[in-house]
Every structure is written in structure tokens, then in C-alpha cells.
Amino acid sequence: MTGQPTRGAVDEVGSAIGTADRSADRPDSGAIGTRPPLAVRVLRRYRVEVVIAVAIVLIELLLGAFKSVALTNGNLTNIAQAAAPLIILAYAQLLVMVTGGIDLSVGSTFSLAGVATAAALPHHGVVGAVLIGLGVGAATGCFNGFCVGVLGIAPFIATLITFSVNASLAFVVAGGNSKPVLSHTFVSIQQGHIGTVANYVVYVIALLLLIEFVFLRLTFGRWLFAVGSNEEAARLLGVPSRTVKLAAYTLCGVLSAFAAILSIAYLQDAEVTAGNGLELEAIAAVVIGGASLSGGVGSAFGAFVGALLVTVIQNGVDLLGINSFYNGTVTGAVILVAVLLERVSRGSDGTRVRRLRDIVLRRLRAT
């Protein structure tokens, strides 16, 4: 670890200050360093996320009131299966977005990794195919991370390159057609069960917990946030910001490929254009979940509920018999509402929105 201060010196003056403090003899001196109760901390940290989760439940109940199909086991399973790849893509995007970056290539990496895995399946077996798929993702992410972290190219531009390259390579690999997925073993990656829980649910939840753990407990996770918060300051503190970015983009690529593997196992077919537009849906999901495009803010729980909300809304549009061409319009409206909500709940930079809220509240109180 670079820049870590020597521990001996740290403890010495730490105790020098401590002595001065003990002489002040404050009764509450022990209490201040301790944390508020877990439930309070969780609610405080995940305010936006909890609101979105509640919104999802309300939307489902409302849909169920109009269309009884909505709340059937079948439909909920459909939502979960369709949401799983998007949620994982949102995790991928999140890793990059907390560093203050953006990855436009996750969609075309998704396409390329999908067709590459499907193409490799008949020749290299399930394990080989999966490794090839993940390898494609890792290579793409590594390239992005190298361009952004080491060469200092703007994330938007660096990932625009891989966006374009991977979309075209997907056509090259697939020869223009979709690739069928015929292996049962491979399909069971997605369809299998652990106990009574479907594999895809396990992946999504396990990744959620893993990413939150990394974000909050590991130094690497704190580095992601530090770099996204103020890269220069992070570097001055000794955070290896280049390596951090390289790792973030690489992990993003690997997760995108994993999402593709789940998706082709679900559909039993690898479409060349499967990932078209998914990068934007993933960004939308992450933003709905409360992450900031400028970095330093975001949670895996947020990405999870964001992606779930996007899927639930698409499902609702579908069930209500609305032309699916309106999907994007509805998603847009949801992003707008989510962002406004977030600005109201946050303090400092939401002044204008808060003023609007105050006016509304005053009117309400007056009536």
C-alpha cells in the first residue's frame, strides 16, 4: 500500500492528543466515537434506495389491482429473470461511476461477450466458453481502464472507442447471425437452483452483498469513492488512483460479460445486437438508484433497485397493453422523478428544487 504512514509515529502523537484530551476530562468522551444503531445507519445511508424499493412495491400492487396477471408467480419470475442481467450491468456501471467515470461500452461488451461465449460453446465446453466470455469482458475493461487511468483519456471518449469496436466485433464473431445456445449444462448456469432459490437470484443478491462489503469495508472500496470524490486529493493522500481506475473498469468489463452469459443462458440464444442501448439503461438504473454522475456517491443496493424499477416499468407498460415503443418515454419520466426526489432529499445542491418544495408545502399548509 503506497503512502501509508508509519504506524509508530501515528500512535505516538495520537496518544499525545489523547493525553491533552483526557486532562480535559469530558464525561461523554467515549460516546462520541461510537456509531448510531444499525437500523438508523441503514436508513440514513440508503434513504433514496428505500424510497425506490417502496415505489417498486407500490407500482406492482397498483398493477395487480388492474391486471391480476401482474402479481402471479409467473410474471414475477419473468421480471426477475429479465432484470437479472440488467441489474448486473448496473453493478458494472456503478463501479465505474463511483470513480467519477462512465462506461459507454458495457452494452456492446455484453453483445460481444454473448456471441463469443455462444460461438465457443460447441468447441471449448462450458467452462472454456464461460472463461472466453469473461476474458472478452476483462480485456475490454482493462483497455478502458488503461486508457482512462494510465493514459488519462476522458472516460466518455475511451469507452466510446470500445463501444464502437465491440459492437462491430460482435458482428464479425457471429457472422451476422444470432448464435443458438444448445448446452443444457450451460443453461443451468442461469436456470439451476441452490436449494429452492434460482441461480440468477443468488448471483444478483450475492453480488449486491459483495459489492456493498467492498464499498464499505475494504480499502479498495473506499479508494473508489475517494478517487470519485476528489481525485487530486486522493492522490495526495497516497491512493493509487491509476490502479484503482484500472481495476474499476476491468471489473466493470468482467461483470458486463457475466451479465451477457446469464442473458444468453436465459434466452438460449446470443443476439448480435442484444446489448444495444443497454449501456444507457444501466446508467439510468444507477442514476435512479441515487448515484452521482460526478462520482463519489452510489450504492449497489441503489443500482439493484434502479434496475429493478426500470424492468418493472417495462413489464407494466407491456401488461397494460401500451405500445412498447413508449418504454423509453416512461423510463425517461421515471429518471426525472427519481433525480428530483433525490435533490429534494439531499441538502446542499438542491436549493432550487427545495425552494419549489417549500412553496408547495406552504400552499398546502395554507389550504
Binding site: M1, G3, Q4, P5, T6, G8, A9, V10, D11, E12, V13, G14, A16, I17, G18, T19, A20, D21, A24, R26, S29, I32, G33, T34, R35, P36, R41, R44, L216, R217, L218, T219, F220, G221, R222, W223, F225, A226, G228, S229, N230, E232, A233, A234, L236, L237, G238, V239, S292, G295, G296, V297, G347, S348, T351
Partner: protein, 505 residues
């Protein structure tokens, strides 16, 4: 010069140097930032490093911190064999915080960000942060989980200082730590620094405020043009004037010269330029033609917010603003500027400079906004004229503002606005991080505008400055005017006393 008489000084004979900078030379491109600078710091002392802007203080700090490599000469740390980066803690002038991370993580990054074995040690970070914050009496130890982005400027500076304390380094360097702080906060900081020095920590403090430095430091080193001109001088043996002289290399008109109009020269007109009315208390704050009105507050941010309110950028729902006797509605900077108001902020990087645009663009942008013309005409000559008028030292108007020293950047901002001929100046800590020379120039120019029938509303965290330049000083808390000082009743002491009375009232 007086160097010889000063070298005899040292701290207690038992102490030994923990940090020695020997004859360091550092070039940036063609310019020599450091030219054989020397600095010797002993353990357990509070050591002031003084120098005008562009003297090379920041470069020196960078070299001590290890972020810059010297071209020749060396930095020796004799405390232990630790590396430079970890045994020296630097509290930066440019806030180097992580805004989205919590206070605890910012104060104690070595636990929160580095931890042990790849695991972040949040609990330890919180405990150590609480200890450091409590020693500064900041009150922040109760909000350890709050993101730093939500804190006002003075609290952020305290977080940064607490980080220095928490680092446990044997040498702590503070770069202008007091500028955003109020006097109580400064007192607590100084008390903490004394405690640390007593515990054997070497404290180096870089500051422009001579009288403040004197209160805490015992030894001073003065740097000018990248060279040490006074080496380890005992502060009790020199006057502020002598120090200022060494800093700028020639005698100035007395540093603390008053820029206040004398009673005979005072031509305060009857014209009311600006009036801010505080509805709840029914008190108001006025600026009339011919006067410089200072605005002071215990929390510097309060005064600053009032000035920004008059410029149409800060809230103030409880305030009413009249400009040139007319009530304003939906006040915005654009309307303010068109009405003949100018705003100069000391936070140049955030509020005034376009770092990627050349000087011409920077100087002409106010005019382009206020007096728009269908196409850009005579811009270069206008920009050159405005900059010459204000004596801005720049090689070319096609340079970027980053190539200027802080003082010249600030003079350029003034030049841009004063060229528009506005009569009301809103000055928001306008000399922050500016050298003595540029300050005097700015004081003179503002006085000139005011003498021609203009008026200025001047907020400053530096009470010494307010005492020097203001005809009236109004003390506020929140947005409420509390008390007023006028003419010769304005001294640094009286302002400080009034501010503190305001707090208890």
C-alpha cells in the same frame, strides 16, 4: 541585512533539527521557483514561514511533502528514517478534502482508506477523528458521518487541520490555516498547536497575517524570490514592519497604513447606493456614495453571504434589497451588473477565473455579458488597457490565468470589473491569498472608485484589513445587522470585541 543578527536564535539548546531543507533549487520551465532556499525546523517549536505570493512557499511545501523533486539541494528528516511523505503532515491551503466521504474518513484517512490488510478500519477512524476534532473544539465530533460537502468553509478547514493532527506526524506544516476561520476557532487552533509543540511535534505555519503568526510562533523564516532572507529569526526581536520589508524586499508604505478616508477627506454623499433591510429585526445596512462599508461576522461565512446576497446569488428570504434607492425583484448577477454593481470574490478559482481561457477572455467576459455587442470588437486592446490600468503583470494577454501569481490574478479580476465603470463594488474577501503589495494596490484602487462617488461593501475574514480600509464596519450574525462602528472607532480590537458581543447578545 538583518540576517546576521537573527541567526544566533534557536529554540531550547537541547532540541535538535528534525527537518532541514538545504540550498534547494527548483526550476519550472524557464522560471526559478526556488533558488537555494534553506529552512531548519526543530522539534517542539512553532515556526512561521513568511513570504509574499510567488516567493516560493508552495513549491517549498511541495518539496518537503515529497510531491515535487528538487533539482539540487536536499531535504533531510532527522526525526527517524521514515520517508518524507509519511512523517510530514501538510495541511493544504487549497482544500484537499474528499467531499463525498464522511468527516471521520477525511480526518483519519490512514485508518479509513488504508486500514490494515486491505480492510478499512472505520471504527478506529471514527475514534481517532473524534479525538482530533474535540481538541479543536470544533463541535464536528458529533457529526462524524456527515459528508464534508455539506460543511461550510470554516468547518472544512477544521477538518483539514484535524487530519494533520490525526496523522500523528512529528512534523506538521500548515499552509495559511487561519484564513477561513473566525477568532474563536483560531484561538482553539493555536491552543492545540501549542499542546502539540509541547509534546515535541515541530509545527510549521505559513501565513500572511503577521500579527496572528506572532501570537503563536516563536521563530520565523522569511523567504523572498525563492531564497531565504531571514533564517530562524526570533519573532520577539523583529517588528511586523521589518518582517514585511523583508518579505517584499523594499520598504513599503507602512504595511498597516490606513486606507480609510480621513475626516476632512470624507465626502460621504447623501446618495444611497445599496440598502439591505432585515425584516425580522427591522434593521438595515446601507452603503452610501463615498464610503467603504465593511461587513464582519464571527463566522466569516455570514458576512460573505450578505455580500453574495446583494449580488443576487445567495438566499436571504428574510432580506430586502434596494439598489440606487429602488427595490429589487428577482435579483440576479446579470441585473446587478447592468445596474452598475460589480462583484469581486477572493475565491478566484471557483468564482472568477476561467482557467482554460486566456487572459483576454477572462478580462472581457464581464463586458461581453453586461454590454453585449453583436460581435467582439477591439477586445485585445481593451483587455490590455484594463490590465495596464490596474498594473497587472502578465507577459501576454494570450496566456492562461494559471501563469499569473495569486496577486496578479486577483488584480486581473478587479481590472475586468472596474473597467466597466460600476459604482457599487461588492467585495467578498477580495484579497484572500494575495501578497502585501497587491493588497495595497487593491486598497488604493477601491478607494479611488469610492472617492469618485462610488461605494463598496467589503466582507473579509481578516479584521485587520477591515480596520485598514473601512469607513464603517457593520457586524452581522446570520443576515442580521447587530452593531455598527464608524470612523476612528474602527480598530481591529473593536471589531473583534463587537463581533464577540454580538455572539453573546
Amino acid at each position: 541585512m538583518s540576517t546576521a543578527e537573527c541567526t544566533s536564535t534557536s529554540a531550547s539548546p537541547t532540541s535538535s533539527p528534525v527537518l532541514e531543507v538545504r540550498d534547494v533549487i527548483k526550476d519550472f520551465g524557464g522560471t526559478r521557483a526556488l533558488n537555494g532556499v534553506r529552512l531548519t525546523v526543530h522539534s517542539g517549536e512553532i515556526h512561521a514561514v513568511l513570504g509574499a505570493n510567488g516567493a516560493g512557499k508552495s513549491t517549498l511545501l511541495g518539496i518537503i511533502a515529497g510531491t515535487l523533486a528538487p533539482d539540487s539541494g536536499d531535504v533531510a528528516l532527522t526525526a527517524d528514517d521514515a520517508t518524507t511523505a509519511s512523517s510530514v503532515a501538510i495541511v493544504h491551503q487549497e482544500l484537499s478534502l474528499l467531499p463525498n466521504l464522511s468527516i471521520a474518513e477525511n480526518v483519519c484517512p490512514q485508518e479509513a482508506l488504508f486500514g490494515r490488510g486491505g480492510i478499512s478500519r472505520q471504527r478506529r477512524a471514527r475514534q481517532r477523528a473524534a479525538t482530533a476534532l474535540r481538541s479543536l473544539e470544533s463541535g464536528l465530533e458529533r457529526q462524524l458521518d456527515k459528508p464534508v460537502a455539506d460543511l461550510p468553509l470554516d468547518k472544512r478547514e477544521l477538518v483539514e487541520i484535524a487530519r494533520g493532527l490525526c496523522s500523528g506526524s512529528r512534523i506538521i506544516l500548515l499552509d495559511e490555516p487561519t484564513s477561513p476561520l473566525n477568532d474563536t476557532q483560531v484561538e482553539h487552533l493555536f491552543a492545540t498547536l501549542r499542546t502539540m509543540a509541547d509534546a515535541g511535534v515541530a509545527v510549521v505555519i505559513v501565513s500572511h497575517r503577521l500579527s496572528e503568526v506572532r501570537r503563536v510562533a516563536s521563530v520565523a523564516t522569511v523567504i523572498r524570490d525563492g531564497r531565504t532572507v531571514l533564517d530562524r529569526c526570533r519573532l520577539s526581536s523583529v517588528t511586523n514592519d521589518e518582517l514585511a520589508e523583508e518579505m517584499i524586499g523594499r520598504s513599503v508604505e507602512r504595511t498597516l497604513a490606513s486606507y480609510r478616508a480621513s475626516d476632512s477627506e470624507r465626502t460621504i454623499g447623501s446618495e444611497q447606493l445599496l440598502r439591505i433591510h432585515h425584516a425580522a429585526s427591522d434593521r438595515s445596512l446601507e452603503v452610501r456614495s463615498g464610503e467603504v462599508v465593511g461587513i464582519a461576522s464571527l463566522t466569516p461565512d455570514d458576512a460573505r453571504q450578505v455580500v453574495r446576497y446583494a449580488w443576487g446569488v445567495a438566499g436571504g428570504r428574510e432580506l430586502k434589497l434596494e439598489v440606487f434607492g429602488r427595490a429589487t425583484r428577482r435579483w440576479t448577477p446579470r441585473r446587478a451588473a447592468r445596474a452598475g454593481v460589480a462583484y469581486v470574490s477572493g475565491d478566484r478559482k471557483r468564482d472568477a477565473l476561467f482557467a482554460d481561457l486566456d487572459l483576454r477572455d477572462n478580462v472581457m467576459t464581464p463586458r461581453r455579458t453586461i454590454q453585449p455587442q453583436p460581435w467582439l470588437r477591439r477586445e485585445v486592446s481593451s483587455a490590455v488597457a484594463a490590465m495596464r490600468e490596474f498594473n497587472v503583470k502578465a507577459a501576454s494577454v494570450f496566456d492562461l490565468p494559471g501563469s499569473l501569481s495569486g496577486g496578479n490574478q486577483q488584480k486581473m479580476v478587479f481590472a475586468a470589473w472596474l473597467a466597466l465603470g460600476g459604482r457599487v463594488l461588492l467585495l467578498d474577501d477580495p484579497t484572500r491569498g494575495v501578497d502585501v503589495d497587491a493588497k495595497n494596490e487593491i486598497y488604493k484602487r477601491v478607494r479611488a472608485v469610492v472617492t469618485r462617488g462610488g461605494g463598496a461593501l467589503w466582507s473579509s475574514s481578516d479584521t485587520e484589513e477591515l480596520a485598514q480600509v473601512c469607513d464603517r464596519v457593520i457586524v452581522v450574525r446570520g443576515a442580521q445587522p447587530l452593531a455598527e462602528l464608524e470612523g476612528d472607532a474602527i480598530t481591529e480590537a473593536s471589531i473583534v470585541t463587537t463581533m464577540n458581543q454580538g455572539e453573546t447578545a
